[in-house]
Symmetry: C2
Subunit: 346 residues, 2 copies
């Protein structure tokens, strides 16, 4: 089994970042540097278009190489942050070459043979990987990290999610489009959307993924629902999501309405979340200070607040809360790097 390569590593692994020039790829480099990931060698790969350029890493300038079928020799861990199509083509080649792939695309997330991992929740799944580990959808991660400490002691019966998702989930070009469209709006100029399907300046719209004609849910909502079930290890979890793109740059937020098996109080929720890994309770009614993207941005933790008893459930089993987390960090790059860290200590 190829994954033994990494599991047996005493020294520092040789790392590759695929899609290094994208919004998530760049954050992967930042996370690796900031957390002093013990790598012995680092290679950056991108499409032919971006190859030849360079990116900074720990004060050095790193050359960007073209992604090819042969580029994974001498790689122990490959962090993939590319499209699902690129992942489907190149991840198996990397695994064949002996690397462990941590893939940020949706390509393998629902494959029963592939662990889908949020380290705070199900790091134990890592032992069964066969060279491929999937990094979950950003909105799923941000919603369920603060739910896990509750779910493990009082099972979630039903979860209703409404998201407020940032531009970054659609990549660096979407972030630029939000900035450009907004400046044009302020200057009274026309701006034609090119990356996202609708005008983005001072506007919001249903998430720009394809709607499933059978269910009416869009691709993002389906990911949130199916991936949350898999990560929480509860295939029957009743969950519904409405995913909305808002004019925010890089932190997602979500309104969570959670029905538990047994009665629960806001005080219990706060006590279960206090000190939970990856979570910071920010719940200050007196100052009207709660999770918001401007403060979640740049933070590894998911902020959680507005914790209150849902008055519409007379059985006292429901809690409302509001969460925010950096889409590029815990929603993507940081979670991938944390998975890589767990591989080293496994």
């Amino acid at each position: 089994m190829t994954h033994h390569r990494v599991s047996r590593l005493d020294a520092a692994p040789r790392l590759a970042v695929v899609g290094a020039t994208g919004a998530v790829g760049r954050e992967m480099l930042t996370c690796l540097a900031k957390r002093n990931f013990p790598l012995s060698h680092l290679r950056l790969f991108a499409s032919q278009r971006c190859a030849g350029g360079a990116l900074p890493f720990k004060g050095r300038s790193m050359r960007i190489e073209e992604l090819t079928a042969e580029c994974f020799t001498d790689t122990d861990i490959a962090l993939f942050s590319a499209s699902a199509a690129v992942a489907r083509r190149y991840a198996p080649l990397a695994v064949e070459s002996g690397a462990v792939v941590i893939d940020n695309s949706s390509a393998f997330r629902l494959d029963p043979e592939v662990p889908l991992v949020v380290p705070e929740i199900n790091a134990g799944e890592l032992v069964r990987h066969r060279g491929l580990i999937a990094n979950p959808n950003c909105a799923a991660i941000i919603s369920i990290v603060p739910l896990w400490p509750l779910h493990r002691v009082n099972r979630i019966r039903r979860l209703v999610i409404a998201t407020y998702q940032a531009a970054s989930g659609a990549g660096a070009a979407a972030m630029q489009e939000l900035l450009d469209a907004t400046r044009a709006h302020l200057d009274g100029r026309e701006h034609k959307p090119q990356v996202l399907p609708h005008p983005y300046a001072f506007n919001l719209f249903s998430h720009n993924t394809t709607i499933d004609p059978e269910t009416g849910y869009n691709g993002e909502e389906t990911k949130v629902m199916l991936e949350s079930r898999k990560i929480l290890g509860d295939p029957d979890l009743r969950i519904t999501a409405t995913c909305v793109r808002v004019p925010v740059l890089r932190a997602h937020a979500a309104s969570l309405n959670v029905e538990f098996d047994r009665p629960i109080t806001p005080a219990e929720v706060r006590s279960l979340l206090a000190g939970a890994p990856g979570v910071r309770v920010l719940d200050d009614p007196a100052r009207n200070h709660f999770p918001m993207p401007s403060e979640a941005q740049g933070q590894g933790d998911i902020l959680v607040g507005r914790i209150r008893q849902d008055v519409s459930d007379h059985s006292h089993r429901s809690i409302a809360m509001f969460v925010a987390g950096d889409q590029l960090l815990k929603g993507a790059a940081l979670n991938a790097v944390q998975i890589a860290e767990r591989l080293l200590t496994a």
Copy 2:
């Protein structure tokens, strides 16, 4: 009973607009003009600070007078768009002077003697007014106008709302703050929030109303919950709301999760909403075209879409949907003018 004055009117009433210079006051003038409201006389009132200026109405320049205790003689209908404090002080004086007051503040909305009216839903309530009629909270109006045609044939058991609310709900100054803060952000300048409590550029935050320390709900959420019950005539309606301010200028949106008494399908919902007054179904999965603020803005109708069966309710009694409506129009000014129109034809 003072209201007979208006009910008996054959000719055109004499109108007063209180708070004419505010964001909602200006829209009231636009609505009156656009709809050719049959008024015989119009007076505009504002605080001392704004009095002396002028506002355009149907091509004429209308002088703005200072609001005083004596200014309502010769007024048949007074549209109030001021603070709750101003309404509490001046609305009773206007009623004593013989006017019917349609008040947009929260001052009288929950008073059992005061009808709280959305004409499409409960215009019948108008017959019992005693000179005072309350115009509901904007987020409540926008959420329940598309729910009424469903509720009347299949009672709502439980309603979970998450809002995406525009700056305009906090007034013209908040809209300007959003523009100023955003321009400063784009130019790399600092901007200190003055109207709203948090940075607004490319950010969102929990609604800026006071949190009830008993329930944990904020003032806006409490309004949405209590007013929806009163307007729908269902004091036991189980409802919960999470109200969030998003960086959008003047149209609110909301994600609605609705559980009905009996099973219901998206096709039934669409058929019940087709042709319903005040509602426009905008639900085009093939083009990913759904309600959004940029298209709700300037429209009198509430847009409704993303109508789908909630997969988390195995009893098939729950529907998810997404709505958007102009906060200044149907959420405030237009609804008030529509109430005034009903008084004339009552």
